[in-house]
Symmetry: C2
Subunit: 68 residues, 2 copies
């Protein structure tokens, strides 16, 4: 298995969002994270980098430039 830690970039800082993530699914604009411990997290963000060498997945909040 190859679980990775998922980090979120917020205000220019990296914050650990969920450890030991094994599955990530995209549901529209939302991302569902599942850890090997059965923890789940749903977040509205975009993926920036998936680094399987260092077991790091970096998310960032989408900047809302569109106004409908």
């Amino acid at each position: 298995m190859c679980q990775s830690n998922v980090y979120l970039i917020q205000n220019g800082k990296e914050k650990l969002l969920l450890e030991e993530v094994i599955l990530i699914e995209f549901q529209g604009k939302k991302i569902l994270l599942k850890s090997i411990f059965g923890e789940e997290e749903i977040i509205e963000a975009k993926i920036k980098t998936i680094d399987l060498f260092r077991h790091r997945i970096i998310l960032e909040k989408e900047t809302h430039s569109q106004r409908n």
Copy 2:
């Protein structure tokens, strides 16, 4: 290391895009894939699923519903 195979869903079928991918970076709408063999692939697609248990990353082509 935890390299995964990257598949692209096209016309409802899964096609192997790049094997042993170790790094994925998002560059706007494009995705840069790098394999442990130094191969690179740039594709305009979205990530559907990252399955680190089965070492599979599934991409799908974006459907262009927006017309500007």
